[in-house]
Structures are given as structure tokens and as C-alpha cells.
């Protein structure tokens, strides 16, 4: 079940937003579409939600062919980056909107909305207007509104993109817990790799209108298929011509098999983390250490050390 989008292509004028994309979202999972802006991830989400029409391809939601079905009859919940709150309606009426459209009995609406407002911790704000809420509260209202109609899938388009870092972090944890509780098939779009790694069950990396790689967050982080996925998911440096993560480089005080001699050129401390920049042969790698590691090694500018990838490190030889 879940969502199956096949051979999706979409152009805007001459710009290719999506180029023959296949996407499978397993039922009940929380999937992140991750990629740089303009890469096509939002377009794919909007096509699944029926807000955009694909040039070619089909969308099957929960076993039903939804290609060409307008958004209003797809029964998907959609959450927008900028909340899309109904400004003239109270929080309660916002959440009730989908149920009112479906002409459900008043008592049922009241019970369902009350339950959802409790779920998103907005029960004491039921009578407020959206303008009287903070950004994070507005987004939780939008989520409750989308969940009210018991959608087959929940689609979130950069849901935390307009919020400040602190609130974003809280909502992220909260979304994860909410999903564990509600279990609705969920797809969310983000350009923040940390967010995607932290929240999702599975990850789809999209760039230039194509899917680069699909897998669990750990799979993708540990075994990136290409340079793009590797560098998009986390920091990358070069050692001896190979791409490697800066926390996957071992610093040795003596020469060892497979190691490269290097001189420390700069040391920078950022909170608990120490970044050492080095000059080793033709490359200038940087290494990420803890403060304790740096002190144990007695690293200083001018120190001569030997570098090698840690045994578990994933390395990638750049193409070209």
C-alpha cells in the first residue's frame, strides 16, 4: 500500500523539475524527501497531493489510482511551509474545516477537534485566531487540521522551514513521536539533512529532478552511492584523493600502514568539537575531533602527524 509514484516527469516552461522519477513509500512509514532547493522534491510532493499535475506518470495512493484525481477528492493531508492558516477562522474552526466540508454531525466534529487539539497541545487555544499563535503553534494547528479528515497519507512541505532553530528542533522530535502514535503514512520534504536523518524511517535524496539514492538514514550516511549523496548528508573532506568524513580520519603520532604525513596548519575549537586543518601532500584535509582527543594528541599548529581513514570509514573516489 502506501504511495507508489511511477515515471513522474514534470517541466515548468523549459525547466525540468522531475525527470522520470519512481518513488515507493511504504505504508505507515515516515519518509523524508531530501535535496537542495529547486531539486524537484516539493514538486514531487505536490504531485502526490494533487496540487500539481505531472506531465507523465501515475500516482497510486493506498492502492487507488489517483492520477488525475483533484486534490479535493484525494483524501491526503497537506501541511505547508507557511502554515496556510485560515486567518478569519478560530483555531477550532481551522481544524474543523475538513469535517465541516464533509458535513459531519456537530457533536462528532466537536469531539474529533477537541481530541486533535489535545494531541497537538493546543486545547487551551481553541478560540484564538491563528494570528494570535506563534509559528510553531500555527504549524501544529495546520497538522491537526490535516489529520482531522483521517487522510490516507500525510504530506508535509518543508513544515519547519519558516521556524527558528530552537522551535524547529522541538517540533522535529514532536513530529517523530506523533508519527509513532498516529502511524499515518507520512512524506515530508526538507533541505535540512540533519532533520531528515533524525526524523525519518527512510530517506529519498533528490537532486536535479532525479532520485539519487533511497534507503534508511544510516544506510545512506554510511554507504552513499555517489559524491552528491555523500556531501549532502554530512561534512566531507579529501584525504589522499578520496572523499571521507572528517570524523572518520584517524590521527596518528607515528607512521603506520596506509597513512599520510601531514602538518597541522590551523586549530579551531567550536564548543565540544575541535577542527584541525592540515597540509598533507597535495591535499588539505580537515579532521573533526573531540576536545579530549585533541588534548591527548597534544595537537598544535606545526605538529607533524600521520592520517588514515578509520577502519569503519566510508570513502568514495570522486568521479573525474
Amino acid at each position: 500500500m502506501g504511495i507508489a509514484a511511477q515515471h513522474i516527469s514534470k517541466q515548468f516552461g523549459g525547466f525540468v523539475a522531475l525527470d522520470d522519477v519512481d518513488l515507493d513509500v511504504p505504508s505507515g512509514e515516515l519518509t523524508a524527501l531530501l535535496g537542495p532547493s529547486g531539486g524537484g522534491k516539493s514538486t514531487l510532493l505536490r504531485i502526490i497531493g494533487g496540487l500539481e499535475e505531472a506531465d507523465t506518470g501515475s500516482v497510486v495512493i493506498d492502492g487507488t489510482d489517483s492520477t488525475g484525481v483533484p486534490a479535493q477528492r484525494r483524501n491526503v493531508g497537506f501541511v505547508f511551509q507557511h502554515y496556510a492558516a485560515f486567518k478569519h477562522l478560530s483555531v477550532f474552526r481551522n481544524v474543523a474545516f475538513g469535517l465541516e466540508i464533509r458535513k459531519r454531525p456537530k457533536a462528532e466534529i466537536r469531539a474529533r477537534v477537541t481530541e486533535l487539539l489535545e494531541l497537538v497541545h493546543l486545547d487551551q487555544f481553541a478560540d484564538r485566531l491563528p494570528s494570535q499563535l506563534s509559528g510553531g503553534q500555527r504549524q501544529r494547528m495546520a497538522l491537526a487540521r490535516a489529520l482531522a479528515v483521517e487522510p490516507k497519507v500525510l504530506l508535509l512541505d518543508e513544515p519547519f522551514g519558516a521556524l527558528d532553530a530552537q522551535v524547529r528542533k522541538e517540533l522535529r522530535d514532536w513530529l517523530r513521536r506523533l508519527h509513532d502514535e498516529v502511524h499515518v503514512t507520512t512524506v515530508f520534504v526538507t533541505h535540512d539533512q540533519e532533520e531528515a536523518l533524525e526524523v525519518s524511517d527512510s530517506l529519498v535524496v533528490i537532486n536535479h529532478g532525479r532520485i539519487e539514492q533511497v534507503g534508511s538514514p544510516n544506510e545512506l550516511y554510511d554507504n552513499p552511492r555517489n559524491e552528491f549523496v555523500m556531501s549532502f548528508l554530512g561534512p566531507v573532506t579529501q584525504l589522499n584523493g578520496a572523499m571521507v568524513r572528517p570524523h572518520d580520519i584517524e590521527i596518528l603520532t607515528a607512521d603506520a600502514l596506509g597513512s599520510v604525513e601531514a602538518t597541522v596548519t590551523r586549530i579551531q575549537r567550536i564548543g565540544f568539537e575541535v577542527r584541525a586543518e592540515l597540509q598533507g601532500g597535495a591535499s588539505q584535509p580537515w579532521v573533526q575531533l573531540t576536545r579530549g582527543q585533541a588534548e591527548a594528541l597534544d595537537l598544535d599548529v606545526g605538529s607533524v602527524v600521520w592520517l588514515r581513514p578509520a577502519s569503519h570509514a566510508s570513502t568514495l573516489l570522486p568521479v573525474g
Binding site: G49, G50, L51, P70, A71, Q72, R73, R74, N75, V76, G77, F78, F80, H82, A84, A85, F86, K87, H88, F97, G98, I101, R102, L119, H121, Q132, L133, S134, G136, Q137, R140, A142, R145, A146, A148, V149, V167, E170, L171, W174, R177, L178, E181
Partner: protein
């Protein structure tokens, strides 16, 4: 789900900040208010007061006399009903035109955008002449509305066209389309989305445009004078009646009629504005 997300609730703190700002601006806004009141008094209140004074100068008897006059009554009735009708038509058509201009893309859109303002720019007597040529005797396109109320309505519709279009357009532009998409994804048909989401947002602007159109139609003279044929008891609008009274040296009657027009205008515009702030409170 045990953890509650703690977030600052905008409210008291924000309000406090705002009110301290207000008191700092006090002197400046005080001066602004003074200028505005002086300006309004000189340009609006003084002439209005003069009209009212003149109209009621010959006592209530003279005032009532001027109004029970059949010709004056018919002229006022025609003007008020026509203006109300024109405002109503404008509220609908102006909204439709604004919608098309904001939401649709088509060749010649910019030209249409400019054309909307022509009724503003054209001297009204020129508009009257054009309308007479088009819809008068020997019309090249068929109808002859010379000396009919249709003729008056067409003239009033012509000159009041831009008001609602121009008040609604910016509001529609500012309306985020994701709100409509949200409504659609929640199962609302395009019609339900318009009625429940878009209409509440633009209603204040529609009402304010309609009020402007009403005011303009109440006072319109130039574009109406030719095509109406100035038939007493039938197509003589109130401004025309007043003009004729002045020519006949019946200044008190003219002023009395003007006073009645003024009172009706005030009532209509005040109720539209009340409706508008009621709608704005809900929107």
C-alpha cells in the same frame, strides 16, 4: 507525547511593547491628527455645513416643502436607487474583473489593466457624449437608451467601474494561494473554497469599493446629463435637478435637496463601513 512544547505565546509582552511605542509617537501623531482635522474641516466640513445651513435656512417648513415636491422626490429616488443598483452590480462585476486580472494570464492583460482606469481619467462630459453616440438615437450597435433609465445606469456603471476593481485587486494579490490549496486538500470544492476562504478575506475591500462607487454615482452629473434626456419625473437625476433649481434661482430648494442627498449618502456609507469593519473583524 508526555512532553509539552513550551513556546512563548505572543500576547501581553508584545502588547506592552506596542503601547510604549504608541506613547513615544504621541507628539507626532498628535500633530498629524491636528493637520488632518484642519484639512478636513476646510475642505469637507465647511462646505457641507454651508449646504445644510442654506437648506434649512428657511425653516423646517421650507425644507419639508422642498422635499414633498414631487419632482424633487422623484429625482432623489431615482438617484438613490440607481446608485444602490450600480454599487451592487459593481460589487459583483468588479470582483470578477479583479479576480481575472490577478489570477489569470492572457494576452492583452496589461492593456485591460490600463483600460480599467480610463473611466477615471476621461472628463465625464466626454464619457456622456461617447455613451450618447453609442447608446443614443442612431446607435451604431442597436439600442436606443436616450431618455431611459437604462441609459442612466449604463453611464453610472461606466464611471464607477474602477472602484471595486482597484480596491479588491491588492487584497487578492496579497492572498496566499497555499491557503486555497489547503482548503482543496481538505476536500473543499473550488466554490466552497471561494465562499468560505476567499470571500471572507476580500469582503471588506468589496464593501469599501462599493461605498466609493455609491458615493460617485450619487453625485454623478456629466456622464448622465446627455443620455438621460433630462425628462422630469422620469430621468432627471438629483444633481441635475439641483443644477436646474440653481439656474431658476431657487437656492433654498436646491440646498434642501442637497441636504437630503447628503444625509442618505452618509447613512449608506456609514452602514457600508459598519458592515466592512464587521467583516474585517471576522476576516
Amino acid at each position: 507525547m508526555s512532553q509539552t512544547i513550551a513556546e512563548p505565546v505572543p500576547g501581553r509582552a508584545a502588547r506592552r511593547a506596542r503601547s510604549s511605542e504608541e506613547s513615544r509617537l504621541g507628539a507626532v501623531s498628535g500633530a498629524g491628527l491636528g493637520v488632518a482635522v484642519l484639512w478636513l474641516s476646510l475642505l469637507v466640513l465647511l462646505p457641507l455645513a454651508a449646504v445644510v445651513a442654506k437648506g434649512t435656512g428657511s425653516g423646517w417648513a421650507g425644507f419639508a416643502n422642498a422635499l414633498t415636491d414631487r419632482r424633487a422626490f422623484d429625482a432623489i429616488k431615482l438617484t438613490v436607487l440607481a446608485s444602490l443598483g450600480v454599487s451592487l452590480v459593481n460589487a459583483v462585476m468588479g470582483t470578477v474583473i479583479a479576480w481575472v486580472l490577478v489570477r489569470d494570464d492572457f494576452p492583452g492583460k496589461r492593456l485591460l489593466e490600463i483600460m480599467i482606469d480610463i473611466p477615471f481619467a476621461l472628463p465625464t462630459i466626454v464619457a456622456g457624449l461617447v455613451l450618447l453616440t453609442l447608446y443614443g438615437p442612431g446607435s451604431p450597435i442597436g439600442p436606443n437608451w436616450y431618455g431611459t433609465r437604462q441609459g442612466i445606469l449604463v453611464a453610472l456603471l461606466f464611471v464607477t467601474l474602477p472602484f471595486v476593481v482597484r480596491t479588491v485587486e491588492p487584497v487578492l494579490l496579497a492572498l496566499e494561494t497555499d491557503v486555497e490549496e489547503a482548503a482543496a486538500s481538505l476536500g473543499a470544492s473550488p466554490f466552497a473554497t471561494f465562499r468560505r476562504i476567499v470571500l471572507p478575506a476580500i469582503t471588506p475591500a468589496v464593501l469599501s469599493g462599493a461605498a466609493l462607487a455609491f458615493g460617485r454615482a450619487m453625485g454623478e452629473y456629466g456622464s448622465v446629463v446627455l443620455i438621460s434626456g433630462q425628462i422630469e419625473y422620469k430621468t432627471e437625476v438629483a444633481p441635475l435637478y439641483i443644477y436646474k433649481q440653481i439656474q431658476d434661482d431657487a437656492l433654498a430648494e436646491a440646498a434642501a435637496t442637497a441636504t437630503v442627498l447628503l444625509i442618505i449618502s452618509l447613512l449608506v456609507i456609514a452602514s457600508l463601513s459598519a458592515l466592512q469593519s464587521w467583516a474585517a473583524r471576522r476576516a
